[in-house]
């Protein structure tokens, strides 16, 4: 570059003349004691550098052929008395993430402003020579295990033996000979099989044969939890719906598809990205959200993305004990994950319509980062239904979007094991939402023009999964990795095959349309490359130029893995029954509860997500008189010219697993459903997604309690079966992440078994939606549903350091009747506000309803429908399920009560009662069961307690 060119660039796109200075080949920093420079390590995505390069090409009229590269780093200037060691610690523990970033620390006296910082170019040094290695599997057991461990294959000895036996087959040897392969397996084949057979991709535990000992003398054999409990329940529900069945595609594609209306279909998927987020919270979480975006985008014929919903589980951000090795502080994980998902969601132009945060110290071992995305697509395009996929032999394999680098190699296998000392660095990637946005803009146009036949995403396992899976539709493929566009030279074929570099979709394209497709891609500035073709050869055939690097029978690749056999044994834990007196000051107790991490306001996080882009926002995550109350579910209008809408809600309650994962799962399902009902949904058109995050449930030396953990999984699945059928809410897709443990040195941390249940529903007219804030003084306050003595694993017990033994149980039959009646009442416009009771129970729900509405309440606890409770604190803080606080105008009282009482006298009545009134006076006043005033607190004080905890 000439100096003139550099000046043009610096003064142009690289600086803002109004507020910035620039310098070329020098330094700007002065007036500091320590200077920290942080930059990326080689191979880590540098989005700013990439954009700068593109801007420079345009400005200087250079051709966009990557003849030069641009890299960025940040400088932090510190002032104050600090020693070298302290300055280094700040760099290592606060400013840089050693895994992906390098840093330099310079004291004032060593700094020369004229010279500045010497540039550091993070160049990737790849293999000098591209080669395919052959590995001899005809070795003893010990050596087989060693191969799996050394290569991070996460394959068991038994699986390695299956590979060995496959290669011993004379017929296999014969067919390999024809393509120039010997009797040894290639690195490409081995890696590809490891990806395809990984727990992450194959869900071996969910598909295992499990002998389950219920602990009550009954033992049963379960042939795949996935088949029996998850798919089985959906099948039953669909059969019962008959002609009205609105499910279109379940469990077969990247996401589930249901009908929205005659002309449009909805697509929904939730995924986790826990392991990468533990190592690099920002990059891991960013990749999580842009990764799940590609699931609905790559479902059927491709959907436009219309919402995100995110749920994060962290250890408390104020954690002050010693951190185990390789674990980042929870506050750092919290901030990094929040920011990663913020950038991924906001920059993609997808509204984050709701979500939640859950805290438990055990999420120190691995945080859970659930990211969900919904999409919408025309029901038909060019006369064909959009929710199915097809590929014909002869169709071209085309990859589009980003390029391939070493990032994300071994992501799938790495997440199939616990976080350990040797967890690979390359497993972490940083997403680039703008490259993905450009790609999705392009592909939606290509879709509407009918330019491709099939679309799928490149996620875990990269091309090996995306092509390997879609090749089943035609019966084989022939792929040339030499054609693949790379970020930098030096990748071996196996690396190209399994790299999880982001922002890539794989398509099948009819050769007659390829020119039009590539022309549109070029016009819109998106890279697209033909990598080979789909065949009906029965083989997964991968070449590098003329040399075959993998040649596997399709049937072996996908069905060669036998079912696992596992044992599960349930023994209900017995814990100490708590003994503590009721609080002397109930107002103070309520404030303490409102301040708890799992209850308090999440506004500081919510506001950082764009929840309104696309213009269809109806019920926002924050509602009420000051726009700061916690709404139960989100409602959006995906099509701006109709009032038809979508409701989205989540349910999650990992604490109940400490007592019984069956009830944990039941409560999660109930919470998601009742959140949706509270906002205006009905059970008639509501679908679910199950997303299991477990700790390793396979009995082994490192997991001596595997049989118990597996029993927890069995029980949770039984609850999914029971409750989805009871509510008629079918699961349409789901996901599991089974190895959420940390094991380094002698420390083992396992997360509490967690089911996130997410629902998506159709709402016929969004103008019927209801929010949770109290509306008018004089409205009657109702409690709907029965409060029981179910304090186990409640926030109230946790506050006192107890777990207890009786967690909430869901009575689905009663709940369903309530939900049906309530949906009718809301549909008729009779309900002013409705709020579900969850963490912190009735006390919290009453307080939130009042302060979100800026109004007071007078409540008589004696009128709350309850059973078996003799303490006011239990009545206020029991977390019994299927309950609401609703407010109703006196004008609608009669009609509302009639609907809830119902006409069918044969059924036991719905438990509900009017418990008080909304007041203009801004106090929450509770009369206890004894008839005395139990507490009287100003709503401002209650709200302040609720808001203070996470207001950083």
């Amino acid at each position: 570059f000439s100096h003139e060119e550099l000046t043009k660039v610096a003064a142009g796109p690289l600086s803002d003349a109004v507020i910035q200075h620039y310098v070329i080949d020098g330094g700007l920093a002065n007036n500091f004691d320590w200077l920290h420079e942080v930059g990326f390590r080689p191979g880590v995505t540098d989005n700013v550098g990439k954009t700068a390069r593109e801007a420079m090409e345009l400005l200087l009229g250079r051709s966009p052929d990557r003849t030069f590269s641009v890299h960025t780093s940040r400088q932090y200037l510190l002032r104050g008395t600090l020693g070298r060691e302290e300055a280094e610690r700040i760099a290592a523990n606060l400013l840089a993430n050693d895994l992906i970033e390098r840093y330099e620390v310079i004291p004032r006296q060593d700094w020369d402003t004229g010279k500045g910082m010497a540039p550091f170019i993070p160049r990737v040094t790849g293999s000098e020579q591209i080669r395919t290695e052959e590995i001899d599997l005809d070795v003893n057991e010990e050596a087989l295990s060693a191969i799996s461990n050394e290569r991070v294959l996460a394959l068991t000895l038994e699986e390695m033996q299956i590979l060995r036996d496959y290669l011993r087959d004379p017929a296999v040897r014969e067919e390999r000979k024809k393509v120039g392969l010997g009797a040894m397996i290639t690195d490409g084949e081995l890696e590809c099989l490891a990806q395809t057979w990984s727990e992450h991709c194959k869900h071996k535990i969910f598909n295992a044969i499990i002998i389950y000992d219920g602990g009550d003398g009954h033992t049963e054999t379960i042939d795949s939890l996935f088949k029996t409990c998850i798919k089985g329940s959906t099948q039953q529900i669909r059969e019962k719906m008959g002609a009205k069945d609105w499910c279109l595609s379940v469990f077969v594609d990247n996401a589930g598809v249901i009908r929205f209306n005659e002309n449009y279909s909805l697509v929904f998927k939730v995924e986790t990205h826990n392991s990468p987020s533990a190592l690099d919270p920002y990059g891991g979480a960013l990749t999580g959200i842009v990764g799940v975006n590609r699931d609905p985008f790559g479902t059927g014929y491709g959907a436009k993305l219309i919402f995100n919903t995110d749920v994060f589980c962290f250890a408390p951000p104020d954690y002050d004990k010693t951190l185990p090795k390789r674990i980042l502080h929870p506050r750092r994980i919290y901030e990094g994950v929040r920011e990663g998902v913020e950038h991924g969601g906001n920059k993609s132009g997808i509204p984050t319509i709701n979500g939640c945060l859950v805290f438990d110290e055990r999420f120190l071992g691995k945080p859970l980062v659930y990211c969900g995305t919904g999409g919408i697509m025309p029901a038909m395009i060019q006369g064909k239904p959009t929710h199915t996929k097809e590929i014909c032999p002869g169709d071209l394999v085309v990859m589009t979007g980003g390029r391939i680098g070493k990032d994300g190699i071994h992501g799938a296998t790495f997440s199939s094991e616990e976080l350990h000392e040797g967890s690979p660095v390359t497993a972490v990637q940083i997403g680039d939402p703008i490259t993905q946005k450009k790609m999705t803009d392009f592909l939606l146009k290509a879709r509407d023009l009918g330019l491709y036949r099939c679309i799928t995403d490149n996620g875990a396992g990269g091309l090996s999964s995306s092509v390997g899976e879609t090749a089943q539709l035609s019966g084989g493929c022939d792929l040339d990795l030499k054609c693949a566009p790379l970020k930098y030279p030096g990748l071996n074929p196996w690396e190209i095959l399994i790299s999880e570099s982001q922002e890539r979709m794989t398509l099948a394209i009819d050769p007659v349309r390829i020119d039009a497709f590539l022309a549109l891609a070029a016009k819109m500035g998106v890279e697209a490359t033909v990598l080979g073709k789909y065949t009906d050869s029965g083989f997964f055939h991968v070449r590098y130029g003329n040399q075959t690097v993998a040649y596997l029978r399709m049937d072996f690749l996908h069905n060669g893995l036998p079912q696992m056999n596992l044992r599960a044994r349930w023994a209900p834990p017995r814990r100490e029954e708590p003994a503590f007196p009721p609080p002397a000051d109930m107002g103070q107790a309520l404030k303490e509860m409102l301040s708890r991490l799992n209850i308090c306001s999440k506004e500081s996080v919510v506001r950082q997500y764009d929840h309104e882009v696309q213009g269809g926002s109806v019920v926002k995550p924050l509602v009420g008189s000051m726009n700061d109350g916690p709404s139960d579910a989100a409602v959006i209008r995906p099509l701006l010219d109709t009032y038809e809408g979508i409701v989205v809600a989540n349910g999650i309650c990992p604490r109940y697993s400490d007592i019984d994962a069956y009830h944990m799962a039941a409560c999660a399902i109930d919470e998601a459903v009742r959140n949706a009902i509270a906002t205006g949904a009905s059970l008639d058109h509501l679908a679910g997604l199950d997303n299991f995050c477990w700790c390793d449930p396979v009995q082994s030396e490192k997991t001596p309690d595997g049989e118990y953990k597996l029993a927890q999984l069995v029980r949770a699945n039984k609850a999914v079966f029971d409750y989805t059928i009871a509510y008629g809410v079918p699961c349409i897709s789901g996901k599991d992440s089974m190895k959420n443990d940390y094991a380094i040195d002698n420390t083992k941390i396992s997360i509490p078994p967690t089911l996130l249940f997410s629902v998506i529903g159709k709402i016929a007219d969004v103008r019927q939606a209801v929010t949770m804030d109290a509306k008018r003084a004089g409205d009657i306050v109702y409690v709907l549903g029965e409060t029981r003595n179910e304090m186990g694993a409640s926030e109230w017990f946790a506050l006192h350091g107890y777990v207890g033994n009786t967690c909430p149980r869901v009575d689905a039959e009663k709940a369903k009747r309530l939900y049906t009646a309530l949906a009718r009442a809301i549909g008729k416009g009779l309900v002013a506000s409705c709020h579900d009771c969850s963490d912190g129970g009735l006390g919290v729900a009453l307080a939130e309803t009042a302060f979100a509405g800026g109004l007071g309440m007078e409540i008589d606890l004696d009128r709350v429908p309850q059973e078996g409770i003799d303490r006011d604190d239990y009545l206020l803080f029991s977390e019994s399920q299927s309950r609401f606080v609703a407010t109703v105008s006196p004008d609608h009282q009669k009609e509302f009560e009639e609907i809830l009482r119902g006409e069918d006298s044969n059924m036991s009545p719905i438990a509900f009662d009017a418990v008080g009134e909304i007041t203009a006076s801004p106090f929450l006043s509770l009369r206890g069961t004894t008839g005395e005033i139990l507490m009287r607190e100003s709503i401002a004080d209650l709200k302040a307690a609720w808001q203070k905890t996470l207001s950083f």
Partner: protein, 280 residues
Amino acid sequence: MTKANINKIVKSIVITGNGTNCEVEMAHACRLAGSDVVDIVHISELLHGEKRLDDYHFLNLPGGFLDGDDLGSAKAGANRILHATIRGTEEKLYDQMTRFIRDGKLILGVCNGFQLLVKLGLLPGFDGDYLTQTVTLSFNDSGRFEDRWVHLAVNQESPCIYTRGTKYLYLPVRHGEGKFIVRDPSVLARLHKEGRIVLQYSGADDGAPTMTYPANPNGAIDAIAGICNDTGRIFGLMPHPEAYLHRTNHPRWTREDLPEMGMGLIIFQNAVDFIRSQLI
């Protein structure tokens, strides 16, 4: 349709691509406002000469993250408009834009679109100089992206054609770089003197401009939320009028009596009415 009527067709263009993401609701706003033709056009279609700005009356630059805002909000986007040539010609996209302005046509930039106008130098565009940047939009004082609704006082002395007949607006902001900054005090003085400051963040009660967070969500100098050029035909603002087109967009629609039509629509109606009565 008679020939005279054909000439009365109002044509709007909404530009998208490279990270723009509010194009659908912006186009919807134009349609609701009565624009007869509304095209969402990918910038590559302009750069390939398939579409031309000259064929439209109303140019909409929607919100989003042009090129990820990686070099500062809309910086790389501005660079593209200034330096990319229309395929097969010597013409830059910027040339079409200046012609568009010279013809007295309307340009509305919202959020990232406002940032783009400012970084191109199109706003405030003193003395017909549409290339020199004199103001900027930078990181919020909070250091964060924030989504929140704000009260806006409308300058009654402004030449802005988009805000005619309005005194007050309530709209969401959704940005991380919305803090309005001027190059020097003379720029600010001139903006005031010429009535170019169209919108200011204000308190809910008194409507007076405020520097208090969060009513002023980003620390913008003199609470500036939107400015226009001397003719009032180029208008940029950080808040999103296209995000409030229907009462159910309002954060408190379940508790307040609101008109069916959202407050943001007036901006687009004024634009379309102006074109119909003055430009065609």
